[in-house]
């Protein structure tokens, strides 16, 4: 199969650390195959920078299979680039044309401080999970998987919410830097299952409180998060979270 090679101009955000101010730096990359992934293209840029004695561009990545939630990048004005329901690592260079200029920015939110270049600190999500994204189980032998009857629709909805990989694209896309799609996926996932029932009320209240403490904005239901989510988490989860919050808040002590 023949490959199409392309030359591209990259405008990449470079920033030494959280304390310094960053700026865009323009790089030219040549001979990029349309069969490469976007991150492979950045690898080539970094090889070139290292060979020339420069500092490689820092960016997050891990599995490169679209399942770990580690990759980020705001590409040409959209988190994870132009394709729908896709992570940056699964974005391929055939999405771009020869001679195109690609603008690459980090996730922008004060709750996701820049570590270096395109890498941001998303540990705020971990702390939100720690605040309530867990269930209580009995110690001892593992319970048989089928011992708890779960309605098919609830199981499907919980699974769809559990698809969230916590990449933070929702925060990056939201004009308010709100983490509500992420949080609603985590709350819905457990609220829909019997295993999540014991902490159902305290979970939503604690996780919302932690989200606010981390400095994320509030949701205005614009839908930008849902449109960019690589796992197509539905915005209906946000409405479910609101419902969980309202009933838990009104009935708590």
């Amino acid at each position: 199969m023949s490959q199409n090679k392309m030359n591209l101009k990259l405008k990449v955000w470079r920033q030494k650390n959280a304390q310094t101010t960053g700026a865009f730096v323009t790089y030219n990359v040549e001979g990029i195959s349309d069969e490469m992934s976007f991150l492979e293209m950045l690898d080539i840029l970094n090889e070139k920078l290292i060979t020339e004695g420069g500092e490689p561009v820092a960016f997050d990545h891990d599995c490169r299979e679209g399942i770990c939630g580690m990759c980020s990048l705001y590409i040409n004005g959209k988190p994870h680039g132009p394709w729908q329901a896709n992570t940056t690592c699964q974005l391929h260079m055939r999405a771009f044309k020869d001679g195109e200029t690609i603008v690459i920015e980090p996730w922008r939110a004060n709750s996701f401080p820049i570590v270096k270049d395109l890498t941001v600190d998303r540990s705020a999500f971990d702390r939100i999970i720690q605040a309530g994204g867990y269930i209580s189980v009995n110690t001892g032998n593992a319970v048989d998987g089928n011992s708890l009857p779960i309605e098919k629709q609830n199981a499907d909805d919980a699974f769809a919410a559990a698809m969230c990989i916590g990449c933070g694209a929702c925060v990056a896309a939201c004009k308010n830097s709100s983490a509500m799609l992420f949080l609603s996926a985590k709350v819905s996932h457990l609220a829909l299952l019997p295993q999540g029932a014991p902490e159902r009320k305290t979970r939503v209240l604690s996780m919302v409180a932690q989200m606010d403490k981390e400095g994320f904005g509030s949701c205005t239901n614009t839908g930008a998060c849902e449109a960019t989510c690589p796992k197509e988490i539905s915005i209906a989860n946000i409405a479910r979270l609101n419902s969980e919050y309202l009933s838990a808040g009104l009935t708590s002590e």
């Binding site: 405008k11 865009f24 705001y74 040409n76 004005g77 959209k78 988190p79 603008v103 920015e105 922008r108 939110a109 004060n110 709750s111 896309a173 004009k175 308010n176 830097s177 709100s178 509500m180 209240l205 919302v208 409180a209 989200m211 606010d212 400095g215 994320f216 904005g217 509030s218 949701c219 205005t220 239901n221 614009t222 839908g223 930008a224 998060c225 849902e226 449109a227 960019t228 915005i235 209906a236 989860n237 946000i238 409405a239 479910r240 979270l241 609101n242 419902s243 969980e244 919050y245 309202l246 009933s247 838990a248 808040g249 009104l250 708590s252 002590e253």
Partner: protein, 227 residues
């Protein structure tokens, strides 16, 4: 969790916006319905009676206090949320993400500001003269004297600029409702698909019909469709 904690969290603040928004939506129905009396083609008799009822009886007057509280809460909370949300991203993007959301969903504060300017002028035109500075009165027979608000409308809407301003404000209201109506119900937790589809459809219909009814009022007077 105290009520204060509940309604001052990020979700709670949105709940306040949603509840006040839904209250204001109900008010719009009442306001549009009563004002539609101008089309009774009776020289404003029915309209002036309706205006008299709203201004003279205890129930509408008590509701009016609630209305003002609702409006101010909605406006103040809306501005505070907008400023707060903007502060969450100190460094913006070079290329902004517009494809994922509607322009009017992202512009609720601007649309709301146009509506606030409209309210100030609208109050100056009708509410302040009726409640404070006084308007001409008319005897509807048997000593039943009421404010002639119909004449105030007739006079106000002779100016083309006023009519244009009212129509622009109604368009802003339409877009504000196109997002706000369905968003309010999502915020209060309506997540069932069947209700979501129903509420979205009603919301878009409401966002077209109510502003259209309001916009036709100054137009009707300006073009002398009503006598």
């Amino acid at each position: 969790m105290t009520f204060k904690q509940m309604f001052t969290s990020s979700v709670g603040k949105k709940l306040v916006m949603a509840f006040t928004g839904i209250f204001l939506v109900l008010f719009l129905v009442v306001h549009a319905g009563l004002n539609a009396c101008i089309w009774a083609m009776d020289g404003g008799v029915m309209f002036n009676k309706a205006g008299h009822f709203m201004g003279s009886y205890v129930v509408p007057r008590v509701l009016e206090i609630g209305l003002f509280l609702g409006i101010f809460l909605h406006i103040i909370q809306g501005y505070m949320l907008t400023l707060e949300n903007r502060s969450k991203r100190s460094v913006g993007y070079a290329v902004s993400y517009k494809d994922g959301s509607k322009w009017y969903s992202r512009s609720m504060a601007i649309l709301g500001t146009i509506l606030l300017m409209f309210f100030i002028i609208h109050w100056k035109h009708f509410w302040i003269p009726s409640r404070i500075t006084g308007v001409e009165e008319i005897d509807l027979g048997n000593g039943f004297v009421v404010h002639n608000l119909y004449a105030v409308m007739q006079e106000t809407f002779q100016s083309l600029w006023v009519v244009i301003f009212y129509v622009i404000s109604c368009i802003s209201l339409g877009y504000h409702l196109a997002h706000g109506f369905q968003s309010a119900f999502k915020t209060i937790g309506v997540h069932n698909k069947k209700y979501h589809v129903l509420i979205s459809s009603i919301g878009y219909g409401f966002a077209i019909v109510i502003p259209l009814v309001f916009a036709l009022m100054p137009i009707s007077f300006y073009l002398h469709w009503v006598n």
